[in-house]
């Protein structure tokens, strides 16, 4: 705020950028052309790939319409939802929540040292940095459901393999974001602390960690949100939680019961999203710049909680009386808020462990088994199932492409309707937002399971489910991006007498385009990961061979599948990361 410290350039910014840009005029022009070229090439490649993929998974408009009919039929049989084992559903719903809490806790505990090792400015040694970054990349590329399926084989059915899977997979995101936060801290405070003769670790704990803290908290809450979605499907592979109940209901053709379970999942996820957004907004309100996009500005939670926030601001500025004898932080404002939230979080973790009757000792006890099964994945055996692996991964990529494309087509109108500065009127806006909440509250894999029940096995229902989920996810991002665009060019366009549609086409879409393309690539990334597990529920792709090999304990084939998934997912991630950096 008042600090005149020059902001340290974002370490992620383009390293190719010249230190002293030429005149701003030519810079503007050059960047724009660069953007356009990259964007057009990306779009062209993407469209060609989608056409190929569309044919590859034998998608057709006729099939699509038939599929929609099938889903409608199934929905007809699902409605109204039945809640005959609501008690069970609620109990399992809580179990799902506790699993998410424990999984996130494991991830945070593991990610913290890994991030310190992976961040350029805190790593003890370049070799340590390489190892830590490797762990992060690996654990992100392997979906949690795959981890879970493997661990269920290693330590048996139950909550334990589920939480370990959640924990390990989450390191990928949590570790990465933690390390980024550490790297983005200001250098000066640390040098100042070092200059008084503090050791390296003293300087890190006193100056680096407090700076990165808001970002840490935001990441943890965000991940908790994601892990709740994941843990609600882990039951499908026997790794605990409510997913198991839904699967069982579907298997026994009790569709109305299944919808009842899905409703419980939906309520759970939606409440969690609300809380996590609200807590983030309260706890981090003053550090909004540090946490960036992940704090929603307009969320209901943020608005409700902002009352507390403004109270806190009043308490934190100016002289705060305290006891000069004891010299303890006065029990007001931020201190009180942090303590309360901190204790609440600890209590939550304790309750979680108790409720699923796990103790940390058991967690550690499972590690040897996990390690044993991991070593048995190597050396990977690519020969036994070479063709299915190759076919499977190609099918997964194709499904991801088609799903991303279809999701994008659906999401652009949806996203525009859900942006408050573009929506034609408040009703359209509210209905669209409500629809987005609905779609986002149901994990994609659950949609996939339902679609497969309706349409039958194969990549088409899996792809449709992914497309559906993507549309919700993308539409939200697009709506948020559009809400943030600069209003001036829009007014200029109106001033020329353009109609609303013309205006959207000429000023809103071009302005939001980089954000849209960037989110599209992001969605492709995520869809590829999800499409590798669709096979586990019969939705086509490489997951099928993985699951089969696991069933017959051909662990070295599993190893080969994992490596294939890793290579493909990671390459696409690198590629899309590169493109996104270019266009943003």
């Amino acid at each position: 705020m008042t600090s005149p410290v020059p902001t340290i350039p974002d370490s992620d910014s383009d390293p190719m950028a010249p230190e002293f840009p030429p005149s701003s005029d030519s810079r503007l022009r050059r960047r724009l052309t660069g953007d356009r070229i990259v964007m057009r090439v990306v779009l062209a490649v993407f469209i060609v790939a989608v056409v190929w993929a569309w044919r590859h998974i034998e998608m057709s408009f006729g099939g699509l319409i038939a599929g929609i009919g099938d889903v409608r039929n199934l929905l007809g049989r699902m409605l109204p939802p039945k809640f005959s084992d609501l008690d069970d559903a609620i109990r399992l719903g809580f179990e799902t929540l506790w699993m998410a809490v424990i999984g996130t806790t494991i991830a945070v505990v593991l990610s913290f040292p890994i991030a310190l090792g992976a961040a350029r400015n805190t790593t003890p040694h370049p070799a340590v940095m390489a190892v830590c970054r490797g762990v992060i990349v690996l654990s992100r590329a392997v979906p949690d459901l795959i981890f879970a399926a493997i661990f269920v084989r290693a330590i048996g059915i139950g909550v334990l393999p589920g939480v370990i899977a959640l924990g390990l997979h989450s390191i990928g995101m949590v570790g990465k974001l933690f390390a980024d936060a550490i790297e983005q801290t200001e250098k000066m405070p640390r040098e100042a602390v070092t200059s008084v003769g503090a050791s390296k670790w003293q300087a890190i704990t006193t100056s680096v960690i407090p700076q990165a803290m808001p970002s840490f908290i935001s990441t943890i809450l965000y991940r908790l949100d994601i892990n709740l979605r994941s843990s609600s499907v882990l039951g499908i592979v026997g790794a605990g939680g409510i997913g198991f109940l839904m699967q069982a209901n579907l298997r026994s053709l009790q569709y109305d019961e299944a919808l009842g379970v899905v409703s419980v999942i939906f309520v759970l996820i939606t409440i969690m999203e609300f809380f996590s957004a609200a807590v983030r907004a309260t706890l981090l309100g003053g550090d909004r710049t540090l946490v960036g996009r992940s704090v929603p500005k307009f969320s209901l939670g943020a608005r409700i909680f902002s009352r507390f926030w403004s109270d806190r601001m009043k308490n934190d500025i100016g002289v705060r009386p305290f006891d000069r004898e004891k010299i303890r932080p006065p029990w007001v404002g931020e201190v009180r808020m942090k303590t309360i939230y901190g204790l609440a979080f600890v209590a939550l973790v304790v309750i979680a462990f108790r409720s699923v009757s796990l103790n940390p000792g058991e967690l550690l006890g499972a590690l040897p088994d996990v390690w044993k099964v991991t070593t048995r994945l190597f050396p990977p055996d690519f020969s036994t199932a070479r063709d299915p692996i190759v076919d499977g991964i190609i099918e997964s990529v194709a499904a991801a492409l088609v799903a991303t494309f279809m999701g994008a087509i659906l999401s652009i109108p949806l996203g525009l309707m859900a942006a408050r500065n573009v929506a034609f009127n408040r009703i359209v806006y509210s209905v669209s937002r409500l629809f987005l909440v609905l779609v986002r509250g149901i994990p994609e894999l659950i949609i996939a399971v339902i679609f497969i029940a309706a349409i039958g096995l194969g990549p088409v229902p899996g792809t449709l489910a992914l497309a559906f989920g993507t549309s919700g996810f993308l539409a939200k991002l697009i709506a948020d991006a559009v809400e943030e665009i600069n209003p001036i060019p829009r007014e200029a366009t109106f001033a020329t007498g353009a109609t609303k549609t013309q205006e959207i086409a000429t000023s809103v879409i071009p302005q939001a385009m980089p954000a849209i393309v960037s989110n599209l690539l992001y969605a492709l990334d995520i869809n590829l990961r999800t499409s590798t597990i669709l096979g586990i529920v019969g939705g086509g792709g490489i997951g099928f061979i993985l699951f089969n090999a696991l069933r017959v304990l051909q662990l070295r084939t599993v190893g080969a599948v994992l490596i294939t998934i890793f290579v493909v997912v990671y390459s696409i991630e690198l590629l899309s990361g590169w493109v996104r950096k270019r266009i943003l």
Binding site: T2, P6, A192, V193, S195, V196, G197, I204, P214, I327
Partner: protein
């Protein structure tokens, strides 16, 4: 000027620094600072003031020359020796170097880390005696009642005073200050310099302080040393100093060099402002 007495706090002889593919930042600098002296270092931007201070703190190795601070040969010192030396040398930065999210008191307490072992989270992890000492130091800079205010909500001048209180926690024998008031308005500058002056006199500290404002330097220091292009071009007691001698330091002479200066100037913001 001053002959190298055994009780010099700082002794620099023949110090030169050439940055890899950079300019000759220091050129054969000789400087001896007796204990208890208040010395002000002046010079144009890029003249090497920060570089000299960074050498005194062992933050960068010299290209050639000898640096002794409080009896320690800085050039030859190992990591541990340097850490020990730094405990006795306070450093005040232009940009304060406070952790904005921590309270003023926590920032002050961090000045004691050199005396403690192990990491510290939060005020209460410091022993009460240290907490009291920290509060007293905050009182000395006039901010005792702000102890539990988040330091990024303090004004610039207040932040710099907190930073001074932090170095006091070191109980330093030598205080180095690199443009402590360069980013402050005149009023806060005067306030900060007042506080600093009172403290160094009370504690009989040796001080080397770089300053941009000549008037501040004249009103404050006992001795002025002027650098130009890495060379000492002025070294005099304030008593027998006149305006024109000072202005000489800021003269852009020597046709060959003047272009140098104008080329270097824009590069200054990009150079890592470590010291």
């Amino acid at each position: 000027m001053t002959s190298p007495l055994p009780d010099n706090a700082v002794r620099v002889t023949g110090l030169s620094k050439k940055f890899p593919n950079g300019p000759l930042a220091l050129d054969q600098v000789d400087l001896a600072v007796p204990k208890g002296q208040l010395l002000s270092l002046i010079g144009l931007s890029g003249s090497g003031k920060s570089t000299l201070l960074r050498h005194l703190h062992g933050l960068i190795p010299p290209s050639s020359g000898f640096v002794e601070v409080l009896g320690t040969n800085v050039v030859a010192a190992g990591r541990r020796e340097l850490r020990e030396l730094r405990r006795d040398v306070g450093f005040v930065f232009q940009s304060f170097g406070l952790v904005g999210r921590l309270t003023a008191l926590e920032n002050v307490l961090s000045g004691a880390l050199g005396r403690l072992s192990g990491p510290r989270f939060g005020t209460l992890m410091y022993p009460k005696a240290l907490r009291r000492e920290a509060l007293e130091n905050l009182d000395r800079v006039g901010l005792g009642d702000r102890a539990f205010q988040r330091s990024d909500t303090l004004s610039g001048g207040q932040q710099q005073r907190v930073a001074i209180a932090r170095t006091l926690m070191q109980r330093p024998k030598l205080l180095l200050a690199d443009e402590p008031v360069a980013s402050l308005d005149p009023e806060s500058s005067a306030q900060v310099m007042d506080v600093l002056f009172r403290i160094v006199v009370e504690d009989q500290l040796t001080v080397i302080c770089t300053l941009h404002q000549v008037e501040l330097a004249l009103g404050w220091a006992q001795r002025i040393v002027g650098l130009r292009d890495g060379q000492v071009v002025l070294d005099r007691e304030v008593d027998n100093l006149d305006e024109s001698a000072v202005m000489e330091v800021y003269r852009r002479v020597e046709p060959g060099r003047s272009t140098d200066a104008s080329v270097e100037k824009p590069s200054v913001p990009s150079s890592p402002r470590v010291a």
